[in-house]
C-alpha cells in the first residue's frame, strides 16, 4: 500500500478524491486525539476556502483549549481575553463591515465568563458568526466543571458529580440565544460521524452566507467530546456523548431566518 502511494505518477489532480484544505497550516494540532476541535477547524477553513474569503476574514480565538486556534488557521486572527471574543468581534465587524468576522469559543469562555459579551453581541444583532464548542467541561485547565456540565457528571471540581442543589443547572445558552430577536440563525450540530461533520460544514457555510447578506448574527453550537476530561477513550466518549449529551442538548436547527423552528 505504501509503495502505491509512493509512486509519483499517480499523483495527478484527477486522482485526488480528498485533501486537506490549504487554509489549515501544516502544524500538529495541540488537541487530544479524538477531540472535535480539529474537525471543526477543518470545516471552518474548508468553508472559507470554498467561498474564497481568506483575504476578507478576521477570526477571534478564545481562552481555553482552542486558545491557539490562530496557530492552525491560515487567516488573520486576534486572541481575545477569556470570554471577550464577542466584544472584539462586534467592534471589528463595525469597523470593517466588508470583512467576515467570526468567534470560536468553548463553553467556559462563551457561557460562563463571557455570558454578558455573548448575550449582548447576540442581542445587538451583530453581523458576525459565533462558533461554540460545547463539551461540558473545562479541558485546558484540566477538566473542571463548566456551565454546561450535565447533572451528576464528575469533573475535577465536581468530583462526586454535579449537584444541582449546590452547583446549579447546566446552562442551555443556545436555547436562550435563539430567543433574541437580533439573532438570525441558530443551530446545534456535532462532528463525531461523517454525516454530522457534513451537516456542521453546511451550517458554517449557511452562517457565512447570512453574514454576507448582512442578515444578522449566526450561532452554531457544536456538541463535542472531551475524552481526556471525561476520562474515556475517544470511542467511549462519543458513545457517552450520544447517550448523555444529545438528550439534554438535542441536535438540529433552532432558528432559521429569524424564526424559531
Amino acid at each position: 500500500m505504501e509503495e502505491l502511494f509512493a509512486k509519483p505518477e499517480i499523483r495527478k489532480p484527477e486522482n485526488i478524491v480528498y485533501k486537506k484544505t490549504n487554509l489549515m497550516i501544516d502544524r500538529p494540532l495541540s488537541y487530544c486525539p479524538g477531540c472535535g476541535h480539529g474537525t471543526t477547524h477543518r470545516m471552518l477553513m474548508e468553508v472559507i476556502e470554498e467561498m474564497g474569503i481568506q483575504e476578507n476574514t478576521i477570526g477571534v480565538s478564545p481562552v481555553g483549549c482552542s486558545v491557539l486556534a490562530y496557530d492552525f488557521l491560515d487567516i488573520d486572527m486576534l486572541g481575545a481575553a477569556h470570554g471577550r471574543a464577542p466584544a472584539l468581534a462586534s467592534a471589528i465587524k463595525r469597523l470593517w463591515p466588508n470583512r467576515f468576522v467570526f468567534t470560536y469559543q468553548g463553553d467556559g469562555d462563551l457561557a460562563a465568563i463571557g455570558t454578558a459579551e455573548t448575550i449582548h453581541a447576540c442581542n445587538r444583532g451583530e453581523n458576525i458568526t459565533i462558533i461554540f464548542i460545547n463539551n461540558g467541561i473545562y479541558g485546558m485547565t484540566g477538566g473542571q466543571m463548566a456551565p454546561t456540565t450535565l447533572e451528576g457528571m464528575r469533573t475535577a471540581t465536581s468530583p462526586y458529580g454535579r449537584d444541582i442543589a449546590t452547583m446549579g443547572y447546566p446552562l442551555k445558552i443556545t436555547e436562550l440565544i435563539a430567543h433574541l430577536p437580533g439573532v438570525n440563525y441558530v443551530t446545534r450540530q456535532a462532528v463525531h460521524t461523517p454525516n454530522h461533520v457534513r451537516k456542521t460544514k453546511k451550517a458554517i457555510r449557511k452562517a457565512f452566507e447570512i453574514q454576507k447578506e448582512k442578515k444578522g448574527l449566526s450561532f452554531i453550537e457544536v456538541v463535542s467530546n472531551c475524552n481526556s476530561g471525561w476520562k474515556l477513550t475517544p470511542v467511549q466518549a462519543n458513545k457517552w456523548m450520544e447517550e448523555n449529551m444529545f438528550p439534554f442538548y438535542p441536535l438540529g436547527d433552532m432558528k432559521i431566518d429569524g424564526k424559531l423552528v
Binding site: Q54, L68, Y70, D71, D76, M77, R84, L88, A91
Partner: protein, 360 residues
C-alpha cells in the same frame, strides 16, 4: 488657526476625537464623564466621518471592543471613570502585551470602591505604575485645562501609534466638567483602509495571499519567548522615557520654593503661586504633563535648587514617591493632599507651604 469654542472638558475630548480622525469610540456610562459618549451620539460622527460610536454592555466589553479595533489597526478609544477603569485593567494589560495602540480617558473620581463622583487624583498609581497584571506601562498624559483635553486626544493617538502602546489621559471630574475656551484643530480625515494597511502592517485586517497570517496576541507559553516580549516592552518604555517627556515650569527662575503638581492640582497651585508671591514668598510651579514618562531629571534639576518642595495632589500622596525618587534627599519634600472628592483651595495650598515647608 482652528475653531474657538466654549466647552466642557469631556465634550472637548469627544469633539477632538472626531477631529483627530478617530475610527471608533466604545464606552459605558459612568459619572463624571458620560458627556463624552452623549456628545458623540448627539453629533453623529458616523454620518459625517464614518466614526463608529457604540454603547457597550460594560466597561469590560468596551475595552475589549477597543482591543478588537486596535488589533485591526483602527484608531479607537474609550473613556470612563475610576471604578470603570478598574474593570478595564484586563483589556489594558492585554493591549500592552499585544502592543496595540489605543486611547483611554480616565476622568478620575474619589475612591476606593464606589467612592464618590467628585474629582480626585487617587488613580495616579494605577495609571502610572501599570494598573493591570504584568510588567507594563502606559503613556500617561495629565491635562490641566479643557484646551489640553482637546490637544491630548490628538497627541495621545499620535503617541499610541508611534509606539504601538495604549495611552491614558488622566483627567478628573473637575477638568471633565468645567467649561473653558478651547481652540480646536481642523478635521483630520480618517485613514482609508489602504492608508491604514500601509501604516500598520502588523494589523489583522484579513490575510492576502502574499504574506504570512497575522496573530494578535499577548500569549507566549515559552518562558524564553515571553521574556523576549518583556524585554522588547521595556526597551520601548526606555525609548519613550528618552523622547516623550513633557512638563511645564511656571515662575521657577527666581523661586526659592516649589510646588509640584499635575492636572487640576497644578491649576490650583498656579493660583496659589500668585497668592504666595503677593505675600512675598518666592514660589514656582513644576507641572509634569507626562506622568509616564516622568520628568525625572527635570524635576531633580529644578527641585534641588529650592529650599523646599511641596507636592500637591488630590490624593494621600502618590506622585510624591516619584518626586522623591527623582530628587533624592537633599531638599525637604512634603506632601499636601485633600482626597475623597475634596478640591483644595489656593489659600489652603499657600498655608500648607508656609506650615510644612517654610515654617516646618
Amino acid at each position: 488657526m482652528g475653531e474657538l469654542k466654549l466647552m466642557k472638558g469631556n465634550e472637548a475630548i469627544a469633539e477632538a476625537a472626531i477631529r483627530a480622525g478617530c475610527d471608533g469610540y466604545f464606552g459605558y456610562p459612568i459619572t463624571p464623564q458620560s458627556e463624552v459618549m452623549e456628545y458623540l451620539m448627539a453629533q453623529k460622527p458616523f454620518e459625517r466621518t464614518g466614526m463608529v460610536v457604540l454603547q457597550a454592555e460594560s466597561e469590560v466589553a468596551s475595552i475589549n471592543m477597543v482591543y478588537g479595533g486596535a488589533g485591526t489597526g483602527k484608531k479607537v478609544m474609550t473613556s470612563s471613570s475610576s471604578p470603570g477603569i478598574s474593570l478595564m485593567q484586563e483589556g489594558i494589560s492585554y493591549m500592552a502585551g499585544a502592543e496595540l495602540p489605543a486611547l483611554i480617558v480616565n476622568a478620575v473620581r474619589g475612591g476606593p470602591g464606589l467612592g464618590t463622583i467628585q474629582p480626585s487624583q487617587a488613580d495616579y498609581f494605577q495609571a502610572v505604575k501599570g494598573g493591570g497584571h504584568g510588567d507594563y506601562k502606559l503613556i500617561v498624559l495629565a491635562p490641566a485645562s479643557v484646551q489640553e483635553m482637546c490637544d491630548h486626544v490628538k497627541l495621545g493617538f499620535d503617541l499610541a501609534f508611534k509606539y504601538r502602546t495604549p495611552v491614558m489621559i488622566l483627567s478628573d471630574g473637575a477638568i471633565g466638567q468645567m467649561m473653558e475656551k478651547v481652540v480646536f484643530f481642523d478635521q483630520i480625515p480618517r485613514r482609508t483602509d489602504e492608508e491604514l494597511m500601509k501604516e500598520c502592517p502588523w494589523a489583522a485586517v484579513g490575510k492576502p495571499k502574499n504574506r504570512e497570517h497575522i496573530r494578535i496576541t499577548s500569549l507566549d507559553l515559552d518562558p524564553a519567548g515571553q521574556e523576549r516580549v518583556n524585554l522588547k516592552l521595556q526597551a520601548k518604555y526606555k525609548t519613550i522615557e528618552e523622547n516623550e517627556i513633557l512638563y511645564e515650569e511656571i515662575q521657577c527662575k527666581d523661586a526659592e520654593y516649589l510646588f509640584v503638581a499635575f492636572g487640576l492640582s497644578a491649576r490650583i497651585c498656579q493660583k496659589a503661586t500668585d497668592l504666595a508671591r503677593a505675600k512675598g514668598i518666592k514660589v514656582g510651579l513644576f507641572r509634569p504633563i507626562t506622568l509616564f514618562p516622568f520628568p525625572i531629571q527635570q524635576i531633580a534639576a529644578t527641585g534641588n535648587r529650592m529650599k523646599g518642595v511641596l507636592v500637591v495632589e488630590m490624593n494621600a500622596g502618590q506622585m510624591i514617591e516619584d518626586v522623591k525618587l527623582s530628587m533624592g534627599s537633599k531638599v525637604k519634600i512634603e506632601h499636601f493632599g485633600r482626597f475623597g472628592g475634596i478640591i483644595p483651595s489656593p489659600d489652603e495650598v499657600v498655608n500648607a507651604l508656609e506650615q510644612k515647608i517654610i515654617g516646618g
